[in-house]
Symmetry: C2
DNA sequence: CTGAAAGCGCTTACAG
DNA sequence: CTGAAAGCGCTTACAG
């Protein structure tokens, strides 16, 4: 069907090797030879078959990125950053989303398209350490995000505990004492929200305040609707926090929705802080205070770790990289200080 | 490096063909033979090399989706829908974003990774019809979105003119007369905003109102910041619309930000309607009235058209598909009617 | 129902 | 500086 190297070689009256040399800009080809071959290439409209090249070279130039949900702006923004970072290394990115479902995460982690991807960046939600044993070790894996694993993989994540503490400290500094946490999860220690919840607890204790577990709300998911429902549930059971620290911005935005509907003012009645610094938060009616992870650093580090392993560097120890973050104070906690 | 079919065949003491038959669940294999081969597969940890299969079959099972910006929730949500729709056809999706830059769109449209993708779904911003001539016709292309092309490709887009007219009609029905349009573009007829702007004009004329071009604001981009700037520019030059129809929800959200900052109430002072129905709009302090395109229908139709061409069906005429849309009325135009 | 062989389109030692 | 040949790991007629 397509035009092959052989066709070009025939047309140019040279060997396949010579055409290959030209296509790959091999330096030692005489200019007139190059011109002759190029002419044949143009006339025939030849385009190299990358699949064949991949088979031959044993690599494809494709890395996969699997995130829980592309509809979550944090992951969409991160995916964009990964695509850009990968492009700088001449890699193409295959984006998949797992809906946070463990079986999809397992499938992906085990190299969902065997031999079509050179490496994988995975941001898990429900994946467990044991799911990671017995995976095909020929495909390097870089883990992203808050979950901790006892498995020998590079892991890129900001310091979630420290970041959460900063957010809570900020709320405390404004005089808030009844600070709710929205977006916890039931289940064991390694739940995604664990670190941020721990930061909430630690900072309260450090301030001499007993963490009130009645102010911790479990949500079903991580979306705006979950945040709205969580806030409503909290208010409905008679709790009246003076501040809310949400697992992420979406939950915070949902919570603000409920607060507004209930006639509570932000931040006068209830201050709200989130986590992720998605663009939505900057344009809310009341712009949202949040922890801003350095997304482009996360993307860059992830791609760098992957390409380092891909280019056969000495198989270094799995590394724990901690990209930066910062607290961004906006009206949802600070009043009209913008 | 990897374990190949041949290794498995050797171990099981059968021919390569037999192993291939087992791997591909070819029906006519005796159970005991299947068991024997499966045992060898398990022992060796064999995993088929998809690249080789792809080379052999001439297809890869990968389709590419190129959108302007993954950071725009509309495209992120659409990408998620395309990934899901493609999975139902056993296709994997390679997501790329073009930043709306024409040269990236050209690159992508010409099959950026030749022979690694079977087909392409492209949502262009600045691509021109002439950029589409001379592309490699072996890779089917489906176009998405508002731009019109005189090129023989399947094109999936809601009826943008009709949808825009519905939005404007809704605003008119509420008594608004000075309705601004935010998010126009300079340049020729085929600019992306053209159809929606045309809908705005047509509906005003139909209502016996002379479209006031002073109420049309050109923006640099399609983000929240552009909407905020556009609204500020409009107010700064002394125009005071009683309603705003924005090219998309992001621009509408940005505009609402500016209106709130200027102390104007929504919808009492200025009603606002957007386009896209992204989730953000549902959770704004003032939930946003918008045109809701049927994203999953768009995704499904796009993937269906592509797979139809991929599975060698009679090369039908390029089709123009019109998925549905509906007007979703929320507080930003309707007051407290939720 | 299974085997031996060709070939998808490349790249890469190996010669010359 | 260029050519002839092998081989990456599959699938698929073609035999039997």
């Amino acid at each position: 069907m397509g035009v092959s190297l052989k066709d070009v070689a025939q047309r140019a009256g040279v060997s396949v090797k010579t055409v290959s040399n030209v296509v790959n800009s091999y330096p030692h080809v005489t200019p007139q030879m190059r011109a002759r071959v190029q002419k044949a290439i143009d006339e025939l409209g030849y385009r190299p078959n990358l699949t064949a090249r991949h088979l031959r070279k044993g690599r494809t130039g494709i890395i996969a990125l699997a995130v829980p949900e592309l509809g979550n702006p944090y992951f969409a923004e991160l995916a964009g950053a990964v695509i850009d970072a990968a492009a700088r290394h001449d890699y193409t990115v295959l984006v998949d989303h797992t809906a946070g479902r463990r079986e999809r995460e397992i499938h992906v982690s085990q190299g969902f398209s065997s031999h079509v991807i050179d490496g994988l960046i995975l941001s898990p939600i429900h994946l467990e350490t044991e799911d990671l044993t017995g995976r095909d070790e020929t495909v390097p894996l870089v883990l992203l995000g808050e979950r901790e694993y006892e498995a020998p993989y590079d892991h890129i994540a900001i310091d979630n505990v420290a970041a959460a503490r900063e957010a809570v400290r900020h709320l405390l500094s404004l005089g808030h004492r009844r600070i709710a946490f929205l977006g916890s999860r039931t289940g064991h220690e390694r739940q995604p929200a664990h670190m941020r919840l721990r930061g909430w607890r630690e900072e309260l204790v450090a301030a001499g305040i007993e963490p009130d577990e009645a102010l911790v709300v479990v949500t079903d998911g991580y979306g705006r609707a979950d945040g709205a429902a969580a806030m409503a549930a909290l208010l409905d059971r008679g709790e009246r926090p003076d501040a809310v620290f949400a697992y992420n911005d979406l939950i915070a935005i949902g919570a603000m929705r409920t607060l507004t509907e209930r006639g509570l003012r932000i931040p006068e009645d209830v201050a709200v802080a989130g986590f992720d610094d998605i663009e939505d938060g900057r344009f809310c009616a009341v712009p949202l205070t949040t922890i801003s992870p350095d997304k482009s650093a996360i993307a860059r580090l992830a791609v760098d770790r992957l390409t380092a392993r891909l280019t056969g560097q000495p198989p270094a120890e799995p590394r724990r990289e901690r990209p930066g973050h910062r607290l961004v104070i906006r009206d949802s906690t600070a009043g009209r200080s913008r």
